[in-house]
Subunit: 246 residues, 2 copies
């Protein structure tokens, strides 16, 4: 009996260490209370309950994380868009914390790899990624407090993903210009984007952009979107003469 | 010219001192950056602009305050309702931060007295009270940070106003029982509720509850609602025999 117990607890602790390392890699944060992160990656299909019989799953942390993320983004928008009235600020925030955007974040962070579930991954819709991301924010908040969570969101969400000028429609997307140009000129294009951590502590993505099977630009950044935009900008300037003489 | 300037700046500073004292009385917080509180009480009808030409009004702070209040209440609900799933937590939070509830808070705090506006008070709807309350939360957050704002919301909002068991429908409201009993028995009732700060640093309310013009109970609390509920409970026990034999 004792032997089983020992094996069981040593397995738990190995799992926890792997989770802790994974979170450190994604977020740059060293977990203190690993329990709360374990909860953030537990799907309700695991049917776990706490000592009081309350279900353990990431859903409740998702609720908390959504609220914390909402305030952090609200303050960011409040400072960045000094000319906007309440309605405009609300609109800008919805763009940033859109379901689509949260799913993209969760996917780029590869959060599903940490999820404990009885449901096969293929049976989940896209929203699981955004939900796990919100739950992770909730866990960081409970473990580290508001300031540290705000700092995490600035470094890992706002800086790599949010381009306020683009959201305000003030600057153009090089990727969309390029795609439009390709379509108009019957060129094939391909963005080959892949995870490329290299020597960095946090996750990076690299992209090779080919037009008509010729690699025209490469780029590397902390999000897929940013890497693709960077490569598109490079390709845009390489092609500039052709594009501007259309 | 110099004289005018002097008179003008001394008037501003007297206004600021009065505002600072008022905020201290309502919130228990001594403002550090008075500018941000002045903004929280400036209606857009004042048509003020900052150095960059951006309008100064409480609307933007209202947006920020709404988000901060939302997270603080989310964490409170998260801890207080361990059995609730995401949907239930969301529902509980909506009840607490309902428009009606925020307006009640703003009114109890008497925030309209600090408002700078060109619009006569009678022309405002009830929502101005809730909006000013949200803007005040935004101002406290910018002036004092998350922890202090959370502390203010706990002391001045959650503790006096939020009864989680009542919100969950687990306990009854003595006020509604009493009113129902009066109506059934053709009794007149009157809650005479008034501000009664007395010796306390923060605002208190007293209530005299009369049934058929006879004062049946008195109570005192930090919100009108709480004082009335307290008086109703006292009256309920005074009348208990009559009520239970209906």
């Amino acid at each position: 009996m004792n032997r089983f117990k020992k094996i069981f607890s040593s397995r738990i602790s190995t799992d926890d260490e792997a989770l802790s390392r994974g979170i450190k890699k994604i977020t740059g944060i060293t977990p203190k209370d690993i329990d709360v992160y374990r909860k953030a990656f537990t799907h309700k299909s695991m049917s776990l309950k706490d000592a009081d019989g309350n279900p353990i799953s990431y859903e409740r942390l998702e609720f908390l994380g959504d609220a914390i993320l909402g305030s952090v983004i609200a303050e960011y928008i409040y400072n960045e868009v000094p000319h906007g009235d309440e309605g405009y600020l609300t609109k800008m925030r919805s763009k940033i914390v859109s379901r689509e955007h949260l799913n993209e974040l969760g996917m780029d962070f590869g959060l599903i790899d940490f999820a404990k579930t009885q449901v096969p991954e293929r049976n989940f819709g896209a929203n699981v990624h955004g939900n796990l991301f919100e739950a992770l924010v909730g866990a960081i908040y409970l473990d580290k407090g508001y300031k540290r969570t705000q700092n995490f969101i600035s470094r890992r969400v706002i800086e790599p993903y949010v381009d306020i000028e683009k959201l305000e429609g003030k600057v153009i997307s090089y990727k969309s210009i390029l795609i439009e140009w390709c379509q108009k000129n019957k060129k094939t294009f391909n963005y080959h984007t892949y995870e490329d951590t290299g020597v960095n502590e946090i996750r990076h993505f690299s992209v090779k952009l080919s037009i008509d099977d010729r690699i025209l630009a490469k780029a590397r950044a902390t999000s897929k979107k940013k890497a693709e935009e960077k490569a598109s900008k490079r390709a845009f300037f390489a092609l500039q003469d052709k594009i501007s003489t259309q």
